[in-house]
């Protein structure tokens, strides 16, 4: 492909490249702003989130500690221990039961976070499964889903589950603690069911962000956490060492890390100090970037609205720059000889001005050269014509005529001698030193010479009448205007005849000369005008017509008519010239005007 700067129009190039440049700049600024601001936002977000998470985690820690404290104080309560220790004395057990229940009820009522308390014990006196304070037989423990957890340690947090009491179902996170007698004998297990709301009110604070709560063993503690903890995330979480921090990650999907599958997100985490519970917040990148995306979009839109005037300006500028070039190109492509020039503005003073000036000068020069060339061509044509005339070699012609004449004289042919003499005179007029204009007298003499030759041929059967105003004789006429008319009469008018009359009339009226040749021959053929246009025949008249047209334009008139008396009458009429015209054309030479 060709270089575009050599191929496309300049205004398109100028405008296009400017527009492209501006657009690219705009896009670059928008993209940069988006990148930078989203980076910044991510940092700000993570710092803010980390701080928030730490705080929330602390609050959760306080909640846990208070529950753990409560459970400890319950587990060390002498009344409870006593109640658990009673095995056989049902009355005593029942009495202490009421006491313990009341005591524990007071605990539940006074706490806003505790939903219920379950105690797994040996030989419970009342099995109140749906009570707020439920005493349950110890062997039921094996049936619980969280048994494994509880069995391994003295106390443990149990992830979100559902408990049913008389008050209804409730989602809870529970704390289980084994109860030991002062002599370290195992007495049972106390489970404090903490309302899930207590955790969630903290977890959901300030945002709808996805937060995960994991215990020190990286176990998800809420149902939401379970669903949110993908194996991938678990892997990441296990690798975490710092107490708090943030990192970008790919969420969801089951591909490898960093693979394109899954959504980009920011993970911020915070570990609580003593117990190692971890709070994780995951923010989709989309949300972080939305602000900066808006910013970039706003910037881009602003840029676009600025782009419009900029483009208009560019268009205007490129037009201003290319307008003179276009003008010049138009002027150059429209440049032809004889056509009026396409005007170029004169008010440019800079490089365009010099270009215009240069072209204008060039144009004038070309015109001059063309005119000179044309003049030279005309001169050359004339010279060629003269050379042609000269090549007839008048010397030879006249010498030969003269010799013929003497030969005729020697042989006693007087008539032939006369014909040769007349011919000699006619040739003199015809050649006449290359003159175009001769006086009517000369033309008339020439014609009469011709007619005399014809008379000699016809042996007196040809009558010639002339009626010429003496005034006319000195007027200038184009050479050979009269004689061809007479020749026409002889050749066409008297075709097939042996007698006839030719009448030559010349007068001058209102500054116009009138030449008329009338014969009493066969008259005009019906289709003479059509025939005249053909190559053959009527050459004389057409030749005169063309020459007069060239000399006088519309000022000349040629009328051929057939008078009722028979024969043909041809009348020429053109301006009377007292002076010999300069050059080949008359004063009315320019017939275009």
């Amino acid at each position: 492909m060709q270089h575009p700067f050599k191929r496309w129009r300049i205004d398109i190039l100028l405008f296009g490249s400017f527009a492209l440049l501006i657009l690219l700049l705009l896009a670059a600024v928008g993209w940069g702003a988006f990148r930078l601001s989203s980076q910044q936002l991510a940092e700000n977000t993570s710092v803010y989130q980390a701080r928030l998470l730490k705080e929330l985690n602390q609050q959760l820690g306080i909640l846990r500690q208070s529950i753990e404290q409560t459970s400890l104080s319950i587990a060390r309560d002498p009344a409870l221990l006593e109640h658990l220790a009673i095995r056989r004395d049902a009355y005593a057990k029942y009495r202490s039961y009421q006491n313990v229940i009341n005591n524990l009820k007071g605990q539940v009522i006074s706490s806003s976070t505790i939903f219920s308390i379950q105690i797994y014990m040996y030989d419970p006196i009342v099995i109140g499964e749906k009570e707020d304070i439920a005493m349950l037989p110890h062997d039921r423990l094996q049936g619980e889903a969280w048994y494994d957890l509880a069995a391994k340690s003295d106390f443990v947090w149990i992830p979100e589950r559902e408990v049913v009491t008389d008050r209804g179902r409730k989602k809870v996170i529970s704390f289980a603690r084994k109860i030991y007698a002062p002599d370290l004998a195992y007495m049972g297990l106390i489970v404090i069911n903490v309302k899930l709301e207590a955790f969630e009110s903290v977890l959901r604070r300030n945002s709808e962000a996805q937060r995960l709560l994991l215990d020190s063993g990286n176990r998800p503690m809420t149902a939401d956490s379970v669903t949110r903890l993908t194996p991938e995330l678990l892997e990441v979480v296990r690798g975490l060492e710092k107490e708090e921090g943030y990192m970008p990650m790919n969420r969801g999907g089951d591909g490898e890390r960093g693979a394109s599958s899954g959504e980009k997100a920011l993970m911020v985490w915070s570990k609580a100090f003593p117990d190692g519970w971890m709070l994780i917040e995951i923010t989709p990148w989309r949300e972080i970037a939305s602000g900066s995306w808006r910013l970039a979009l706003t910037l881009f839109m602003l840029g676009l609205s600025a782009l419009l005037p900029a483009l208009l300006l560019t268009l205007y500028l490129s037009r201003q720059f290319t307008r003179p070039v276009r003008l010049l190109v138009r002027s150059m492509s429209g440049f032809t000889i004889h056509q009026p020039d396409t005007p170029l503005p004169n008010d440019y003073r800079n490089e365009f001005g010099s270009l215009f000036g240069g072209f204008r000068k060039l144009r004038e020069r070309v015109d001059e050269l063309y005119a000179a060339q044309q003049a030279q061509y005309a001169r050359q044509k004339e010279a060629e014509l003269q050379a042609l005339q000269a090549s007839i070699n008048p010397h030879f012609l006249y010498n030969t005529l003269d010799q013929l004449n003497w030969m005729a004289i020697e042989a006693g042919h007087e008539m032939m001698s006369r014909v040769l003499e007349l011919m000699g005179r006619m040739f003199r007029t015809t050649l006449s030193n290359g003159e175009t204009w001769i006086t009517l007298e000369e033309e008339l003499n020439h014609t009469l010479c011709y007619l005399e030759i014809q008379q000699l041929r016809w042996k007196g059967e040809l009558a010639v009448e002339t009626e010429v105003e003496p005034d006319c004789l000195t007027l200038y006429v184009p050479k050979l205007t009269l004689q061809p008319l007479v020749e026409n009469s002889m050749v066409h008018g008297f075709h097939g005849r042996h007698s006839g009359t030719v009448r030559i009339l010349a007068d001058v009226r209102d500054g116009r000369i009138r030449l008329q040749v009338t014969d009493d021959g066969v008259g005009l053929a019906a289709d003479w005008r059509e025939r005249r246009n053909r190559k053959t025949g009527g050459y004389g008249l057409r030749n005169i017509e063309e020459r007069l047209d060239a000399y006088f334009g519309i000022d000349c008139k040629i009328v051929a008519e057939a008078p009722e008396s028979g024969g043909t009458s041809v009348t020429l009429s053109f301006p009377a010239l007292r002076e010999k015209p300069e050059g080949g054309r008359s004063h009315v030479a320019d017939r275009d005007h």
Binding site: R418, E421, R425, N433
Partner: protein, 155 residues
């Protein structure tokens, strides 16, 4: 008798011319011929003809040079010039040298005869005039003694 000389470098012309001139009718005699300007000059000086018919374009000396030389030496002969195609420019010069007629070649018999008749008529008129003048002078001289006597007696 009028004496006519012919000068032309073409023998055919010389012969033809001599043939077509009606000597008897014109009351003329042949005064000789020459084939170039130089010969013509001698011929005219020797024979002193009344009429000279000469060509212009001739070898050695052309007709007009010859004529000029003759005019300078006081020759009063009548000159009839025969001019070829390229001799147009000489026409003016010829007029200055008092040429009686300037004919362009080719010339028909009739033209030559007419011209010669015209020249001779003018010569005759001139001669008649001279004659008349001469007679008048003679008469005057005859009457002179008488007149002288009368006039002197009156005085």
């Amino acid at each position: 008798m009028w004496r006519i000389a012919i000068i032309d470098d073409d023998r055919q012309v010389l012969a033809g011319m001599r043939n077509i001139i009606p000597w008897g009718e014109l009351n003329a005699v042949y005064a000789g011929e020459a084939e170039d300007g130089k010969q013509g000059l001698e011929l005219v000086r020797q024979a002193n003809p009344d009429i000279v018919i000469t060509d212009i374009y001739m070898p050695v000396m052309n007709g007009l040079e010859m004529l000029e030389a003759l005019r300078q030496s006081g020759c009063t002969s009548r000159f009839v010039i025969l001019s070829g195609y390229s001799d147009f420019e000489y026409a003016r010069q010829a007029l200055r040298l008092e040429v009686t007629d300037y004919l362009t070649k080719p010339v028909s018999i009739a033209t030559i005869r007419n011209v010669l008749r015209k020249v001779i008529r003018s010569l005759e008129e001139e001669a008649a005039e001279r004659q008349e003048q001469h007679e008048l002078m003679e008469q005057v001289s005859q009457f002179r003694p008488y007149l002288e006597k009368n006039v002197s007696s009156r005085l």
